[in-house]
Structure formats: C-alpha cells, structure tokens
Symmetry: C2
C-alpha cells in the first residue's frame, strides 16, 4: 500500500461557469490557486468569451463548453438537454479514453448539487463495492480541528451497508486530505431519549463494529449531534436526510448568531464603540467559524474525484475548494478508496467488488 503522492503535474478541471457568480468568482480563485501551487495545472471549462482573461495564464488551458447549467435547472435538463454544459464537459475530462491517461485528476464545480451529482454518476459510474455515492464535507470543531460528515444529502433512507460504505469512503478522504491515516469514525445516533436509533442504525453499528474489530476501520462507536462540534471523532457517518438537515440547521444557527452579534454591536453609538475596540477579537472569532475556509464538499464513491463548492462561494472560498480537490488528487484519494474497499467491504457485505484484487483498477487516477 504505497501512498507516495501523485507525480507532478497534478491537474484540476474547473467548471468556471457554475455557482451564483460564475467566472467573476471562479477565475480569480483559479489565479490565486495557481500562484500558491506552482506545479499544479488547470483546465478551465466554460464559454471562451467569458474566460478570455485567462487565455495567457501559465499552466492553464481553456476547454470550450457552450452551455451553462443554472442553479435552478432541474436535474433532467443538466442530464439530457444541456449536453455541452461546462459542468458536463468538466466531468468528462476525468474519464480516461482508450487507455490514454486522464486529462484531469479532479474536478471542481460550484454548480447545483443535484445536477452535479447526477451528471457525475452517469458519466463516471460508482466504484465497484459502493452502491451509492455520498457527499462529504468538513465542519469546524471545538478541538480546533475538523469533523468530516457524510452523507450530507445524496441519499435518503440509507441502509446499514450504505452507512458502512460511507465510513470507508470518509476514512479514505480524511487520510488523503487531512493526513490522518486511521481516522476515527462515529455513527450518528440519538441518545437514551428514544429506542437508541432505528433497526438500520443498529445494524450499521454491528457492521461497523465488526469492521473495527477486524482492524479495517477505526470505529469509535455511536456519537450524537453535539459530538460533531465537540470533535469526538474525525468522521461522522449518517443518512443523507439527517446529514442535510443537520448541515443546513447549523448554517442557519451560525448565521443567526452572527446576525445577533452584528445587531448588538451596531445598536447604538456606545455599542459601536465597544465593537470598534473589540474588533481584532471579533475578527479572530469570525475567522474561526468562517465557513468559507471549509468550502469544498467531496462527491465520494465515483470513478473520479468531483468536489462541489458552495454555490454562493466567493473567490477565497472557491480557492479553498480547489485546494481540497488538489490535496485529494495528489494524495491518491481514488487509490485509497479502492484499497479500503478491498480491505473492508469485500470481506463483509458488498458484492460486485469483482476487481477488488486488481490494484490497477482505479489507477486512471494515477496515470
């Protein structure tokens, strides 16, 4: 199991038209990313007219795509009608053609999540051993680190096997991006207030415990909602409905608290003076909970690395998503997923991992 980084150049493909702001955000982010990653290369996908300011950039190439998937486009439109969209063309670059090396090692888009997941699934297919792809993102925790949570909305009604697969995918992600080789995994459950979770959760607990006992995963046990922000485990796995509600409620609560702070500090001149004097402190606080720093959710379980930026991301946030995708590609996330599937899932429940012994299988990544 070698985890030497991918040899340079690592190449990202960027859907420059996606998100609320399109090239006005994605291009400055790409520029900043290139400056900070002196060996990285980018493929910029979009309408050439909109991307012309990037024509002469170093380590950069523009790939034309005539259409744009809007934030409101139904999945069907992205999938069947806009076949020359920047989103679709970008994902296409992750596919190896006829034994050729792939054109790009990871894709980043701020386009609408439903469309991105659907197009990625159709074009890339899921990895053998994974039934359903999942969305993973990080949240800050009180321990000063990050908690990676998945699934955040790709699946509803996840079965126990899906939750085990999420644990495998999340472990691979955290080892690649955060450098923790055996990250701890918690299963999101509820406290004594009820019957300690549904049948599905109990079964998932058994599968995860078995994988933990066999040394295939670092399974911690059950965790509750507050453990996400305590940082009890590196990874928290849950059904996508639960994860999505938790994510959006957290965004809503953080927004509300930020709004309250702002309202109180601008209420009268005395408060404003207080705010002025406390500004350095408030700025440090703001930095700690700045969700832009955590931007870049991974679509995991696909035969290609796709990262989703928040649609409303600014250039700083989009650059963070590019950096996460770059780290994942450079640290061979696809290979790590594959290795973990071989180690964990093949032994237990998953059928279809027929190429599990074939180390070269996901090596399009390493080409």
């Amino acid at each position: 199991m070698t985890h030497a980084p991918l040899p340079d150049p690592v190449r990202l493909v960027v859907d420059c038209m996606g998100g609320d702001h399109g090239p006005s955000v994605t291009l400055p982010a790409c520029r900043a990313f290139l400056d900070k990653h002196p060996t990285a290369e980018l493929l910029l996908v979009g309408q050439p007219e909109a991307l012309k300011s990037a024509v002469a950039w170093p380590r950069c190439r523009i790939v034309a795509a005539s259409e744009v998937v809007t934030m409101d486009d139904p999945i069907e439109v992205a999938l069947r009608r806009k076949r020359d969209s920047s989103m679709r063309v970008a994902i296409q670059q992750l596919k190896a053609r006829d034994g050729e090396p792939v054109l790009a090692h990871a894709c980043v888009s701020a386009g609408n999540t439903g469309a991105l997941m659907a197009v990625a699934k159709v074009l890339l297919k899921t990895v053998a051993g994974i039934d359903r792809p999942a969305i993973a993102a990080v949240m800050p925790n009180a321990a000063g680190r990050f908690t990676t949570v998945l699934d955040l909305g790709a699946n509803v009604d996840s079965a126990a096997e899906n939750l085990l697969q999420f644990a495998v995918l999340g472990s691979a992600l955290v080892s690649a991006v955060d450098g923790i080789e055996e990250p701890s995994v918690g299963l999101l459950n509820i406290g004594e207030e009820a019957i300690k979770g549904s049948e599905t959760i109990k079964q998932a607990g058994e599968l995860l415990r078995a994988a933990g006992s066999a040394g295939q995963l670092n399974f911690y046990g059950n965790v509750e909602g507050n453990d996400i922000f305590k940082g009890t485990t590196d990874i928290v796995v849950c059904d996508g409905f639960v994860g999505n509600v938790m994510l959006k409620a957290s965004e809503g609560l953080a927004g509300m608290m930020g709004g309250f702070i702002k309202a109180e500090f601008t209420r009268d001149w005395l408060s404003m003076l207080g705010g002025l004097l406390a500004r350095p402190v408030l700025n440090r606080f703001k930095h700690r909970v700045d969700h832009r720093r955590f931007n870049g959710a991974a679509l995991l379980g696909l035969r290609g690395l796709v990262f989703k930026s928040h649609g409303s991301a600014d250039a700083f946030a989009f650059e963070m998503a590019l950096a996460r995708a770059y780290d994942a590609a450079r640290n061979r996330l696809l290979d790590r997923v594959h290795e973990r599937i071989v180690a964990t899932l093949q032994a237990s429940t998953v059928t279809g991992a027929t190429d599990a012994g074939d180390k070269a299988a996901p090596a399009a990544q390493a080409a």
Copy 2:
C-alpha cells in the same frame, strides 16, 4: 370552541428530585415561580427531608415519594422497580380518580427523558387519535420569535400519519403557550440535493397539504434545516431521529461558538480589555441565545400535560419550564389537542378517535 383560561387555581406538580441538581435547583425555582404567579399552586414531590425548607411556603403542598430516578437509570428501573419515585408519583397526580377532579393540571420534571416518557406513557396513556407521543421544544429564530420543533427524539422511523399528528399536537401547543391561534407548520425536508425526501416525507406532505386545504391546519409546505433558525414557520415537524440530531448539533454548535468567543476575549490583556468594554453588548447577545430561556419541552399526545426540563437546568431555567407548563395548563392545552384531533385527524387517517365527538372526554384537564 371556547378558550377561556382555566379558572384559578391552576396547580402544577413538580418532580423536585429530578435533574442533575435536584432540590437545590428545583426548590428555588418553585419559590420564584410562586412569587411571580400569585394564584398558582404547587405540589412538590420528593423525599420530605430534602423538601423541608418548603414546608411553610404558601400555595404549596409536599407530596412524599421515597425513591429517586437517577439520570442514568434505565427505563426499566423507572418503570418497574422504583414504583415510589418522585417522577412516578408526580405524574400520578395528573390522573383523575373516580370522577374526582385531578390533583394537578401539569407536571414538570428535569428527570431523564427516556424514563419520563416511558412512565408518562404507561400511567397516562396516549390521547385517542394519537399513535405516538412526541417531544416538542422551542428554539430561538432570527425573526426574534421562537420556532417550535417536534419530534425531538421520542420516535424513530415516524410514518406519514405520525408527522401529521405531530403537526396537530404542535399547533395546539403553540396556540396555548404562544397565543398564536393558527400557527404555521413546516415539514422538514431536504433540498434539491437529493430526491427531495423519502416516500414517507412525500406522503406526509400530501396529508398535511390536504389538512391545510381543508382549513384544519395552517400548512406552509416544506422547510429546510436553516428555516428553523430563520423563523420561516411557527412549527417544524420531523421524525424524532432527525429532530434529536438537529437539536443536539445545534446545542453543540452554539456551545462551540460561545467557547470561541470566550477564548478570543480572554486571549491576552488587550482582548480582555476589549471584552470589558464590549461587555454590555456581549451580555445582550448572550441573553438572546441563552437556551435557559427556552427550557421546558412538552411531552405531547398524552392524557395529561408533562413538561421536561433540561437535566442540567439551573433555577432560572427550571422556573422557565414551570412557566411554560403553567401557560399550557391555564390555556387548556389538552382541550386544544382534543379539538384539533376532532377537526383534523378524525376526518383523515386516524382510527380510534372514537370519543372524538365527546367534548367532555379530556375534560379531566378542565376539572
């Protein structure tokens, strides 16, 4: 449909031994509550020795109970073994005996939630028309009001009919406690990222829409996690697993953000000075998000009013729970639940509401 308040005296029964701190918190809270509610009466349940300081209080009577359900006691212990626990004896006071008026109109306990719900269910039974009781609590929102959310953990795998029943129960609660006669109801769902919720959620949406069209409920439609803190609707209904994760994640996030603020303001002498100068502002902020103000979850759907205080509540928080229970009892929450069941559930899906036409049925409450 008359909603004239219950005639004085309204009487609460208090499990004085429950919670992390027992009488050292519950007694001062009861004393403060009595001072602020000059016609209210209290039954204080617990070990007489522990409650002797309250012996001479006005409008107050001590009810002896020799045992205490601890925060760690399994449900079985509370239910079968400790039959003279303060929790059990307190709930017992809500039961009318042989046509006598009830001894108390609502019960408040800070004891462990699982035990409290189990004992309440066994002793009180559920209201006709309600299959499963639910736990409802309020969360502050950016609109400066409260959002009532249920279920917060009494049920997992709620069916569509349960979610409709939660909407009925929540509407009755908000009308009684917050004085909003036709509160708006949102169904917690996830965004376009997935298939817009499970089959259960879709069916619940249909039931709720039908009840809304028939004028039986003020149904708003789907809401997402962030809408809880935006204050999009007065009530948000969800399965208890989802609600519990959301609640605990929110507590964890708020705690983390509070901890970050504190850490930054005590980092060095300059920060401390800033904090000193900004203290009035920070205190106002703290007040706005102070979860003690929102203490007091309702166990809804039972033939008696039971309110659950946070186990770690201090006297101020416990007093808030007493006040909520008092408002619910005074404004005839049980009658309101009954009326709404007759109006909404009988017409649609629920069987077993055989006494639905009988207005006197839950009138033990009004005795």
